[in-house]
Amino acid sequence: MTPLRFGAPARRLFGLYQPPSAGMGTAHCVVLCNPFGQEAIRSHRLLRVLGDRLARAGFTVLRFDYSGTGDSDGDDSEADLGRWVEDVVSADAEARRASGLRTSSWFGVRLGATLAALASAQAPSPPRTLVLWDPVADGRAYLDELAAAHREALRIAEPRSLVAAGAGGREALGFPIPGALEAQLLALSPASFAMACAAQVSVISSAQAPGTEALRAAMGGVGSTSETRIASQIAWATDEAMGSAIVPTDALEAIAAALARPA
Protein backbone atom coordinates (compact mmCIF):
# COMPACT_ATOMS: atom_id res chain seq x y z
CA MET A 1 0.00 0.00 0.00
CA THR A 2 1.48 3.33 -1.02
CA PRO A 3 0.37 6.64 0.50
CA LEU A 4 0.47 9.50 -1.97
CA ARG A 5 -0.72 13.04 -2.53
CA PHE A 6 -2.14 13.91 -5.91
CA GLY A 7 -4.18 16.49 -7.75
CA ALA A 8 -3.65 20.20 -8.30
CA PRO A 9 -0.69 21.65 -6.33
CA ALA A 10 -2.97 24.11 -4.57
CA ARG A 11 -5.28 21.32 -3.46
CA ARG A 12 -3.44 18.08 -2.90
CA LEU A 13 -5.52 15.06 -2.07
CA PHE A 14 -4.42 12.20 0.14
CA GLY A 15 -4.64 8.79 -1.48
CA LEU A 16 -3.68 5.19 -0.80
CA TYR A 17 -2.73 3.21 -3.83
CA GLN A 18 -3.04 -0.50 -3.46
CA PRO A 19 -1.88 -2.75 -6.30
CA PRO A 20 -3.34 -6.22 -6.67
CA SER A 21 -1.79 -9.09 -4.75
CA ALA A 22 1.13 -10.68 -6.58
CA GLY A 23 0.02 -12.68 -9.57
CA MET A 24 -3.60 -11.59 -9.24
CA GLY A 25 -3.71 -8.56 -11.53
CA THR A 26 -6.84 -7.78 -13.53
CA ALA A 27 -7.41 -5.09 -16.12
CA HIS A 28 -9.58 -3.14 -13.74
CA CYS A 29 -9.03 -0.55 -11.02
CA VAL A 30 -11.49 0.52 -8.34
CA VAL A 31 -11.86 3.96 -6.74
CA LEU A 32 -13.45 4.00 -3.29
CA CYS A 33 -15.44 7.08 -2.23
CA ASN A 34 -15.84 8.02 1.44
CA PRO A 35 -18.99 9.25 3.08
CA PHE A 36 -19.06 12.63 4.85
CA GLY A 37 -18.03 13.67 8.34
CA GLN A 38 -18.42 11.27 11.22
CA GLU A 39 -19.64 8.58 8.82
CA ALA A 40 -16.23 8.74 7.14
CA ILE A 41 -14.51 8.23 10.48
CA ARG A 42 -16.69 5.26 11.31
CA SER A 43 -16.40 3.63 7.91
CA HIS A 44 -12.64 4.02 7.52
CA ARG A 45 -12.09 0.45 8.63
CA LEU A 46 -14.68 -0.77 6.16
CA LEU A 47 -12.87 0.85 3.26
CA ARG A 48 -9.51 -0.45 4.48
CA VAL A 49 -10.82 -4.01 4.71
CA LEU A 50 -12.66 -3.66 1.40
CA GLY A 51 -9.51 -2.37 -0.28
CA ASP A 52 -7.49 -5.30 1.04
CA ARG A 53 -10.14 -7.73 -0.09
CA LEU A 54 -10.38 -6.25 -3.57
CA ALA A 55 -6.59 -6.23 -3.95
CA ARG A 56 -6.54 -9.92 -3.04
CA ALA A 57 -9.20 -10.46 -5.71
CA GLY A 58 -6.94 -8.84 -8.30
CA PHE A 59 -8.17 -5.25 -8.39
CA THR A 60 -5.99 -2.18 -8.21
CA VAL A 61 -7.53 0.07 -5.56
CA LEU A 62 -7.34 3.77 -4.81
CA ARG A 63 -8.80 5.17 -1.61
CA PHE A 64 -8.67 8.91 -1.09
CA ASP A 65 -9.97 11.83 0.95
CA TYR A 66 -11.90 14.74 -0.58
CA SER A 67 -10.62 18.30 -0.25
CA GLY A 68 -10.97 19.57 3.30
CA THR A 69 -11.55 16.08 4.68
CA GLY A 70 -9.37 13.37 6.18
CA ASP A 71 -5.69 13.81 5.37
CA SER A 72 -6.23 15.97 2.28
CA ASP A 73 -5.46 19.66 1.97
CA GLY A 74 -8.10 22.14 2.97
CA ASP A 75 -10.24 23.11 5.90
CA ASP A 76 -13.55 21.55 6.88
CA SER A 77 -15.20 24.94 6.41
CA GLU A 78 -14.49 24.65 2.67
CA ALA A 79 -16.75 21.62 2.26
CA ASP A 80 -18.32 21.78 -1.19
CA LEU A 81 -20.13 19.09 -3.17
CA GLY A 82 -18.97 20.46 -6.51
CA ARG A 83 -15.35 20.34 -5.43
CA TRP A 84 -15.76 16.83 -4.09
CA VAL A 85 -17.26 15.71 -7.39
CA GLU A 86 -14.15 17.09 -9.10
CA ASP A 87 -12.05 15.19 -6.55
CA VAL A 88 -13.69 11.90 -7.53
CA VAL A 89 -12.84 12.56 -11.17
CA SER A 90 -9.30 13.50 -10.16
CA ALA A 91 -8.93 10.31 -8.10
CA ASP A 92 -10.11 8.24 -11.03
CA ALA A 93 -7.51 9.88 -13.27
CA GLU A 94 -4.84 9.17 -10.67
CA ALA A 95 -5.88 5.53 -10.34
CA ARG A 96 -5.74 5.06 -14.10
CA ARG A 97 -2.42 6.93 -14.39
CA ALA A 98 -0.73 5.03 -11.56
CA SER A 99 -1.98 1.63 -12.68
CA GLY A 100 -1.78 2.16 -16.43
CA LEU A 101 -5.26 0.62 -16.64
CA ARG A 102 -8.01 1.98 -18.86
CA THR A 103 -11.02 0.56 -17.05
CA SER A 104 -12.21 1.62 -13.63
CA SER A 105 -15.20 1.08 -11.41
CA TRP A 106 -16.28 3.21 -8.48
CA PHE A 107 -17.70 2.30 -5.12
CA GLY A 108 -19.25 4.87 -2.80
CA VAL A 109 -21.02 4.69 0.52
CA ARG A 110 -23.69 7.15 1.70
CA LEU A 111 -22.75 10.63 0.48
CA GLY A 112 -19.74 9.04 -1.23
CA ALA A 113 -22.17 7.01 -3.35
CA THR A 114 -24.00 10.18 -4.29
CA LEU A 115 -20.74 11.89 -5.22
CA ALA A 116 -19.69 8.90 -7.31
CA ALA A 117 -22.96 9.02 -9.22
CA LEU A 118 -22.71 12.79 -9.77
CA ALA A 119 -19.05 12.57 -10.80
CA SER A 120 -19.70 9.77 -13.28
CA ALA A 121 -21.51 12.33 -15.44
CA GLN A 122 -18.37 14.48 -15.55
CA ALA A 123 -15.67 11.84 -15.98
CA PRO A 124 -13.82 11.86 -19.32
CA SER A 125 -14.07 8.06 -19.20
CA PRO A 126 -17.10 6.96 -17.21
CA PRO A 127 -16.71 4.09 -14.77
CA ARG A 128 -17.60 0.61 -15.93
CA THR A 129 -19.55 -0.16 -12.79
CA LEU A 130 -20.98 2.10 -10.10
CA VAL A 131 -21.62 0.41 -6.77
CA LEU A 132 -23.68 2.62 -4.47
CA TRP A 133 -24.26 1.57 -0.86
CA ASP A 134 -27.11 3.43 0.86
CA PRO A 135 -26.67 6.50 -1.34
CA VAL A 136 -27.99 9.82 -0.02
CA ALA A 137 -30.82 10.55 -2.40
CA ASP A 138 -32.90 12.83 -0.20
CA GLY A 139 -30.76 15.73 1.01
CA ARG A 140 -33.35 17.15 3.39
CA ALA A 141 -33.88 13.78 5.09
CA TYR A 142 -30.12 13.35 5.35
CA LEU A 143 -29.66 16.73 7.03
CA ASP A 144 -32.57 16.01 9.37
CA GLU A 145 -30.98 12.69 10.28
CA LEU A 146 -27.63 14.34 10.98
CA ALA A 147 -29.28 17.07 13.06
CA ALA A 148 -31.19 14.55 15.15
CA ALA A 149 -28.05 12.46 15.67
CA HIS A 150 -26.13 15.58 16.66
CA ARG A 151 -28.74 16.55 19.25
CA GLU A 152 -28.73 13.03 20.63
CA ALA A 153 -24.93 12.94 20.82
CA LEU A 154 -24.87 16.16 22.78
CA ARG A 155 -27.65 15.00 25.06
CA ILE A 156 -25.70 11.89 25.95
CA ALA A 157 -22.10 13.03 25.93
CA GLU A 158 -22.00 16.78 26.27
CA PRO A 159 -25.03 17.92 28.22
CA ARG A 160 -23.36 21.13 29.28
CA SER A 161 -22.21 21.96 25.79
CA LEU A 162 -25.78 21.53 24.62
CA VAL A 163 -26.60 24.55 26.70
CA ALA A 164 -23.40 26.42 25.91
CA ALA A 165 -23.25 25.88 22.17
CA GLY A 166 -26.88 25.32 21.35
CA ALA A 167 -28.20 22.17 19.76
CA GLY A 168 -28.64 23.70 16.35
CA GLY A 169 -26.04 25.45 14.28
CA ARG A 170 -24.49 24.31 11.08
CA GLU A 171 -22.52 21.38 12.33
CA ALA A 172 -23.21 17.72 12.79
CA LEU A 173 -21.40 15.12 14.85
CA GLY A 174 -18.17 17.08 15.09
CA PHE A 175 -18.01 18.49 11.57
CA PRO A 176 -19.13 21.89 10.31
CA ILE A 177 -21.76 22.09 7.59
CA PRO A 178 -21.10 25.40 5.83
CA GLY A 179 -24.10 27.17 4.38
CA ALA A 180 -23.09 26.39 0.80
CA LEU A 181 -22.84 22.68 1.54
CA GLU A 182 -26.17 22.74 3.33
CA ALA A 183 -27.82 24.28 0.27
CA GLN A 184 -26.17 21.74 -2.02
CA LEU A 185 -27.33 18.88 0.18
CA LEU A 186 -30.87 20.23 0.31
CA ALA A 187 -30.97 20.12 -3.48
CA LEU A 188 -30.18 16.38 -3.60
CA SER A 189 -33.02 14.15 -4.75
CA PRO A 190 -33.39 10.94 -6.74
CA ALA A 191 -33.46 13.13 -9.86
CA SER A 192 -29.86 14.12 -9.09
CA PHE A 193 -28.87 10.59 -10.10
CA ALA A 194 -30.45 10.77 -13.54
CA MET A 195 -27.25 12.03 -15.15
CA ALA A 196 -25.13 9.17 -13.80
CA CYS A 197 -23.09 7.42 -16.42
CA ALA A 198 -21.89 3.81 -16.20
CA ALA A 199 -22.35 0.54 -18.01
CA GLN A 200 -23.99 -0.88 -14.90
CA VAL A 201 -25.14 0.38 -11.55
CA SER A 202 -25.49 -1.76 -8.46
CA VAL A 203 -27.34 -0.32 -5.48
CA ILE A 204 -26.69 -2.01 -2.16
CA SER A 205 -29.25 -1.33 0.56
CA SER A 206 -28.86 -1.96 4.25
CA ALA A 207 -31.77 -3.52 6.08
CA GLN A 208 -33.01 -0.20 7.46
CA ALA A 209 -32.54 1.81 4.27
CA PRO A 210 -35.65 3.20 2.54
CA GLY A 211 -36.77 1.72 -0.76
CA THR A 212 -34.75 2.68 -3.80
CA GLU A 213 -37.53 2.54 -6.38
CA ALA A 214 -37.43 6.29 -7.05
CA LEU A 215 -33.66 6.25 -7.28
CA ARG A 216 -33.56 3.33 -9.67
CA ALA A 217 -36.35 4.84 -11.71
CA ALA A 218 -34.32 8.05 -12.01
CA MET A 219 -31.38 5.99 -13.21
CA GLY A 220 -33.53 4.07 -15.64
CA GLY A 221 -31.49 5.23 -18.58
CA VAL A 222 -28.10 4.59 -17.01
CA GLY A 223 -27.27 1.08 -18.18
CA SER A 224 -28.34 -1.99 -16.25
CA THR A 225 -29.37 -1.25 -12.68
CA SER A 226 -29.76 -3.78 -9.90
CA GLU A 227 -30.34 -3.73 -6.16
CA THR A 228 -29.03 -6.02 -3.45
CA ARG A 229 -30.52 -5.74 0.01
CA ILE A 230 -28.26 -6.98 2.77
CA ALA A 231 -29.28 -8.19 6.22
CA SER A 232 -27.02 -5.83 8.14
CA GLN A 233 -28.65 -2.83 9.74
CA ILE A 234 -26.28 0.13 9.95
CA ALA A 235 -26.61 3.13 12.27
CA TRP A 236 -24.87 5.58 9.96
CA ALA A 237 -25.48 8.78 11.85
CA THR A 238 -24.05 8.33 15.30
CA ASP A 239 -21.26 10.04 17.18
CA GLU A 240 -19.91 6.79 18.47
CA ALA A 241 -16.49 5.99 17.12
CA MET A 242 -14.67 4.04 19.75
CA GLY A 243 -15.12 0.39 18.98
CA SER A 244 -17.85 1.02 16.43
CA ALA A 245 -16.12 0.55 13.08
CA ILE A 246 -18.55 -0.65 10.42
CA VAL A 247 -17.39 -3.78 8.64
CA PRO A 248 -20.38 -6.05 7.92
CA THR A 249 -19.34 -9.16 6.04
CA ASP A 250 -22.49 -9.31 3.92
CA ALA A 251 -21.84 -5.80 2.65
CA LEU A 252 -18.25 -6.65 1.74
CA GLU A 253 -19.42 -9.71 -0.15
CA ALA A 254 -22.14 -7.80 -1.99
CA ILE A 255 -19.74 -5.00 -2.98
CA ALA A 256 -17.05 -7.39 -4.19
CA ALA A 257 -19.61 -9.41 -6.16
CA ALA A 258 -21.02 -6.28 -7.80
CA LEU A 259 -17.57 -5.10 -8.85
CA ALA A 260 -16.64 -8.51 -10.25
CA ARG A 261 -19.86 -8.82 -12.28
CA PRO A 262 -19.17 -8.65 -16.02
CA ALA A 263 -20.52 -5.52 -17.65
Binding site: P3, G174, A241
Partner: protein
Amino acid sequence: MIERSIAFGPGNGLVGTICLPEAGAARPAVGQVLFNAGVVHRVGPHRINVRLARALARRGIPSIRFDLSGQGDSARPRGDLPFEGQAVEDLRASMDALTAASGAQRHAIFGFCSGGCHGYATAQADERVAGLVLYDTYIYPTPRSRLNRALTPIREKGVVTFTLGVLRRLLAARWLLGRDPKGAFDRQGNVGYFRLPTKAEFARTVRALHDRGTRVALMYSCGFPAYNYAGQFRDAFRGTGIDGIVSCDYFQDMGHSATVTAAQARFIERLVEFAAGLEPPKGRAPQ
Protein backbone atom coordinates in the same frame (compact mmCIF):
# COMPACT_ATOMS: atom_id res chain seq x y z
CA MET B 1 2.61 24.48 5.72
CA ILE B 2 3.90 21.46 3.84
CA GLU B 3 2.37 18.00 4.13
CA ARG B 4 3.85 14.74 2.95
CA SER B 5 2.21 11.36 3.33
CA ILE B 6 4.68 8.57 3.89
CA ALA B 7 5.16 4.91 4.65
CA PHE B 8 7.84 4.37 7.27
CA GLY B 9 9.08 2.05 10.00
CA PRO B 10 10.03 -1.60 9.61
CA GLY B 11 9.04 -2.79 6.16
CA ASN B 12 7.47 0.61 5.56
CA GLY B 13 4.41 -0.79 7.25
CA LEU B 14 3.37 2.37 9.08
CA VAL B 15 1.36 5.05 7.28
CA GLY B 16 1.41 8.68 8.30
CA THR B 17 1.47 12.29 7.22
CA ILE B 18 4.25 14.69 8.11
CA CYS B 19 3.16 18.31 8.53
CA LEU B 20 5.95 20.88 8.41
CA PRO B 21 5.95 24.64 8.95
CA GLU B 22 6.62 26.78 5.90
CA ALA B 23 10.16 26.65 4.58
CA GLY B 24 12.40 29.11 6.34
CA ALA B 25 10.80 28.69 9.76
CA ALA B 26 13.18 28.50 12.72
CA ARG B 27 14.44 25.07 13.64
CA PRO B 28 11.81 23.60 15.94
CA ALA B 29 12.47 22.86 19.60
CA VAL B 30 10.19 19.84 19.48
CA GLY B 31 8.08 17.87 17.08
CA GLN B 32 4.60 16.61 17.87
CA VAL B 33 3.48 13.00 17.51
CA LEU B 34 -0.21 12.34 16.90
CA PHE B 35 -1.77 8.92 16.46
CA ASN B 36 -4.90 6.85 16.92
CA ALA B 37 -7.55 7.47 19.53
CA GLY B 38 -8.93 4.02 20.18
CA VAL B 39 -9.93 2.62 16.80
CA VAL B 40 -10.13 6.02 15.11
CA HIS B 41 -7.52 6.34 12.38
CA ARG B 42 -4.75 8.90 12.43
CA VAL B 43 -6.87 11.95 11.54
CA GLY B 44 -8.31 11.66 15.04
CA PRO B 45 -11.86 12.00 16.32
CA HIS B 46 -13.66 14.57 14.18
CA ARG B 47 -10.38 15.20 12.32
CA ILE B 48 -8.89 16.88 15.38
CA ASN B 49 -5.37 15.62 14.67
CA VAL B 50 -5.35 17.24 11.23
CA ARG B 51 -6.56 20.59 12.54
CA LEU B 52 -4.08 20.34 15.41
CA ALA B 53 -1.18 19.50 13.08
CA ARG B 54 -1.90 22.54 10.94
CA ALA B 55 -2.29 24.84 13.95
CA LEU B 56 1.04 23.55 15.24
CA ALA B 57 2.69 24.17 11.87
CA ARG B 58 1.48 27.77 12.00
CA ARG B 59 3.38 28.06 15.30
CA GLY B 60 6.51 26.53 13.74
CA ILE B 61 6.02 23.05 15.21
CA PRO B 62 6.31 20.04 12.89
CA SER B 63 4.23 16.94 13.47
CA ILE B 64 3.52 13.45 12.32
CA ARG B 65 0.08 11.86 12.50
CA PHE B 66 0.16 8.13 11.93
CA ASP B 67 -1.55 4.81 12.48
CA LEU B 68 -0.17 2.26 14.91
CA SER B 69 0.47 -1.22 13.54
CA GLY B 70 -2.77 -2.98 12.70
CA GLN B 71 -4.84 0.19 12.92
CA GLY B 72 -6.00 2.67 10.30
CA ASP B 73 -3.95 2.16 7.16
CA SER B 74 -0.85 0.64 8.75
CA ALA B 75 0.17 -2.96 8.22
CA ARG B 76 -0.49 -5.68 10.73
CA PRO B 77 2.11 -5.99 13.50
CA ARG B 78 4.78 -8.65 13.16
CA GLY B 79 3.28 -10.45 16.10
CA ASP B 80 6.42 -10.88 18.17
CA LEU B 81 5.65 -8.09 20.60
CA PRO B 82 2.79 -7.60 23.04
CA PHE B 83 0.27 -4.88 22.18
CA GLU B 84 1.84 -2.24 24.40
CA GLY B 85 5.39 -3.10 23.31
CA GLN B 86 4.40 -2.81 19.66
CA ALA B 87 2.82 0.59 20.27
CA VAL B 88 6.03 1.82 21.92
CA GLU B 89 8.08 0.57 18.97
CA ASP B 90 5.70 2.28 16.55
CA LEU B 91 5.87 5.56 18.45
CA ARG B 92 9.65 5.40 18.45
CA ALA B 93 9.61 4.80 14.70
CA SER B 94 7.35 7.83 14.27
CA MET B 95 9.82 9.98 16.22
CA ASP B 96 12.62 8.73 13.95
CA ALA B 97 10.57 9.69 10.90
CA LEU B 98 9.71 13.10 12.28
CA THR B 99 13.32 13.82 13.20
CA ALA B 100 14.41 12.84 9.70
CA ALA B 101 11.80 15.10 8.12
CA SER B 102 12.02 18.12 10.40
CA GLY B 103 15.27 18.08 12.31
CA ALA B 104 13.45 18.15 15.65
CA GLN B 105 15.39 15.96 18.07
CA ARG B 106 12.79 15.78 20.83
CA HIS B 107 9.08 15.27 20.64
CA ALA B 108 5.78 15.66 22.40
CA ILE B 109 3.23 12.86 22.36
CA PHE B 110 -0.49 13.55 22.42
CA GLY B 111 -2.22 10.55 23.94
CA PHE B 112 -5.95 10.62 23.35
CA CYS B 113 -7.80 8.31 25.74
CA SER B 114 -6.13 4.87 25.64
CA GLY B 115 -3.47 6.45 23.42
CA GLY B 116 -2.28 8.12 26.60
CA CYS B 117 -1.28 4.70 27.95
CA HIS B 118 0.94 4.20 24.89
CA GLY B 119 2.39 7.68 25.34
CA TYR B 120 3.01 7.06 29.03
CA ALA B 121 4.89 3.83 28.28
CA THR B 122 6.89 5.44 25.47
CA ALA B 123 7.87 8.44 27.57
CA GLN B 124 9.37 6.10 30.14
CA ALA B 125 11.23 4.15 27.48
CA ASP B 126 12.58 6.96 25.32
CA GLU B 127 14.30 10.12 26.48
CA ARG B 128 13.40 11.93 23.28
CA VAL B 129 9.92 12.45 24.68
CA ALA B 130 9.95 16.07 25.82
CA GLY B 131 6.24 16.43 26.44
CA LEU B 132 3.34 14.11 27.14
CA VAL B 133 -0.35 14.92 27.05
CA LEU B 134 -2.64 12.40 28.73
CA TYR B 135 -6.18 13.18 27.66
CA ASP B 136 -8.92 11.30 29.53
CA THR B 137 -6.41 8.58 30.27
CA TYR B 138 -5.90 7.95 33.98
CA ILE B 139 -8.58 9.05 36.40
CA TYR B 140 -8.08 9.12 40.16
CA PRO B 141 -11.22 9.67 42.21
CA THR B 142 -11.38 11.84 45.31
CA PRO B 143 -14.04 12.07 48.04
CA ARG B 144 -15.43 15.13 46.30
CA SER B 145 -15.55 13.49 42.88
CA ARG B 146 -17.36 10.51 44.43
CA LEU B 147 -19.82 12.82 46.10
CA ASN B 148 -20.36 14.76 42.87
CA ARG B 149 -20.94 11.54 41.07
CA ALA B 150 -23.36 10.25 43.65
CA LEU B 151 -25.31 13.51 43.47
CA THR B 152 -25.53 13.54 39.70
CA PRO B 153 -28.71 11.41 39.57
CA ILE B 154 -30.53 13.70 41.97
CA ARG B 155 -29.65 16.64 39.75
CA GLU B 156 -30.60 14.85 36.57
CA LYS B 157 -33.36 12.44 37.52
CA GLY B 158 -34.70 13.40 40.90
CA VAL B 159 -34.79 12.03 44.42
CA VAL B 160 -36.17 8.55 43.71
CA THR B 161 -33.47 7.57 41.26
CA PHE B 162 -30.88 9.09 43.51
CA THR B 163 -32.07 7.10 46.52
CA LEU B 164 -32.04 3.87 44.57
CA GLY B 165 -28.55 4.66 43.39
CA VAL B 166 -27.35 5.22 46.94
CA LEU B 167 -28.84 1.94 48.06
CA ARG B 168 -27.15 0.15 45.23
CA ARG B 169 -23.84 1.70 46.12
CA LEU B 170 -24.24 0.90 49.78
CA LEU B 171 -24.26 -2.72 48.73
CA ALA B 172 -20.98 -2.27 46.91
CA ALA B 173 -18.39 -2.41 49.63
CA ARG B 174 -15.62 -1.75 47.18
CA TRP B 175 -17.03 1.69 46.47
CA LEU B 176 -17.23 2.45 50.18
CA LEU B 177 -13.64 1.45 50.67
CA GLY B 178 -12.61 3.68 47.80
CA ARG B 179 -9.92 1.37 46.52
CA ASP B 180 -7.94 2.26 43.46
CA PRO B 181 -10.02 1.09 40.54
CA LYS B 182 -8.78 -1.41 38.02
CA GLY B 183 -10.28 -2.70 34.80
CA ALA B 184 -11.73 -1.55 31.58
CA PHE B 185 -13.65 1.65 31.13
CA ASP B 186 -15.28 0.72 34.36
CA ARG B 187 -17.55 2.96 36.33
CA GLN B 188 -14.50 4.86 37.53
CA GLY B 189 -13.63 5.72 33.96
CA ASN B 190 -10.47 3.66 33.66
CA VAL B 191 -8.96 2.77 30.36
CA GLY B 192 -9.77 -0.82 29.94
CA TYR B 193 -7.14 -3.22 28.81
CA PHE B 194 -4.60 -0.94 30.45
CA ARG B 195 -3.77 -1.13 34.12
CA LEU B 196 -4.30 2.06 36.03
CA PRO B 197 -1.02 2.93 37.75
CA THR B 198 -1.37 3.28 41.50
CA LYS B 199 -1.16 6.83 42.74
CA ALA B 200 2.29 6.19 44.16
CA GLU B 201 3.47 4.67 40.88
CA PHE B 202 2.05 7.50 38.82
CA ALA B 203 3.56 10.15 41.08
CA ARG B 204 6.96 8.45 40.98
CA THR B 205 6.89 8.16 37.21
CA VAL B 206 5.78 11.73 36.60
CA ARG B 207 8.47 12.98 38.98
CA ALA B 208 11.13 10.94 37.14
CA LEU B 209 9.93 12.25 33.78
CA HIS B 210 9.96 15.81 35.08
CA ASP B 211 13.48 15.44 36.47
CA ARG B 212 14.54 14.15 33.07
CA GLY B 213 13.07 17.20 31.36
CA THR B 214 9.78 15.73 30.16
CA ARG B 215 6.73 17.89 30.81
CA VAL B 216 3.42 16.18 31.47
CA ALA B 217 0.02 17.71 30.87
CA LEU B 218 -3.22 16.10 31.98
CA MET B 219 -6.39 17.08 30.22
CA TYR B 220 -9.89 15.90 31.01
CA SER B 221 -13.24 16.25 29.33
CA CYS B 222 -16.59 16.07 31.08
CA GLY B 223 -17.11 12.75 29.31
CA PHE B 224 -16.34 10.46 32.21
CA PRO B 225 -18.44 10.88 35.33
CA ALA B 226 -15.51 9.78 37.48
CA TYR B 227 -13.64 13.00 36.67
CA ASN B 228 -15.99 15.81 37.45
CA TYR B 229 -14.37 18.98 38.76
CA ALA B 230 -11.46 21.18 37.82
CA GLY B 231 -9.23 20.56 40.83
CA GLN B 232 -9.71 16.80 41.01
CA PHE B 233 -6.21 15.84 39.96
CA ARG B 234 -4.62 18.27 42.38
CA ASP B 235 -6.83 17.02 45.20
CA ALA B 236 -6.02 13.42 44.36
CA PHE B 237 -2.28 14.05 44.34
CA ARG B 238 -2.03 16.69 47.04
CA GLY B 239 1.04 16.08 49.13
CA THR B 240 2.75 13.84 46.59
CA GLY B 241 4.85 16.65 45.20
CA ILE B 242 3.67 16.26 41.60
CA ASP B 243 0.57 18.44 41.73
CA GLY B 244 2.83 21.42 41.18
CA ILE B 245 4.87 20.03 38.29
CA VAL B 246 2.18 18.89 35.90
CA SER B 247 -0.42 21.06 34.25
CA CYS B 248 -4.01 19.94 34.42
CA ASP B 249 -6.95 21.21 32.40
CA TYR B 250 -10.59 20.30 32.81
CA PHE B 251 -12.83 21.02 29.82
CA GLN B 252 -16.11 21.06 31.67
CA ASP B 253 -18.23 21.64 28.57
CA MET B 254 -16.46 19.25 26.20
CA GLY B 255 -17.43 15.60 25.83
CA HIS B 256 -14.86 12.85 25.46
CA SER B 257 -14.67 12.94 21.68
CA ALA B 258 -15.11 16.74 21.45
CA THR B 259 -18.20 16.77 19.28
CA VAL B 260 -18.87 20.49 19.35
CA THR B 261 -16.57 22.38 16.97
CA ALA B 262 -16.21 25.36 19.32
CA ALA B 263 -14.94 23.01 22.03
CA GLN B 264 -12.56 21.41 19.53
CA ALA B 265 -11.08 24.84 18.82
CA ARG B 266 -10.45 25.53 22.52
CA PHE B 267 -8.96 22.08 22.97
CA ILE B 268 -6.63 22.52 19.99
CA GLU B 269 -5.59 25.95 21.23
CA ARG B 270 -4.59 24.49 24.59
CA LEU B 271 -2.68 21.61 22.98
CA VAL B 272 -0.75 24.05 20.79
CA GLU B 273 0.02 26.21 23.80
CA PHE B 274 1.44 23.20 25.65
CA ALA B 275 3.62 22.10 22.72
CA ALA B 276 4.84 25.64 22.08
CA GLY B 277 5.86 25.97 25.71
CA LEU B 278 8.16 22.97 25.70
CA GLU B 279 11.76 23.86 26.12
CA PRO B 280 14.54 23.02 23.71
CA PRO B 281 17.12 20.49 24.89
CA LYS B 282 19.28 21.84 27.68
CA GLY B 283 22.20 23.90 26.44
CA ARG B 284 20.81 24.21 22.94
CA ALA B 285 18.54 26.96 21.84
CA PRO B 286 16.50 26.48 18.69
CA GLN B 287 18.18 28.10 15.72
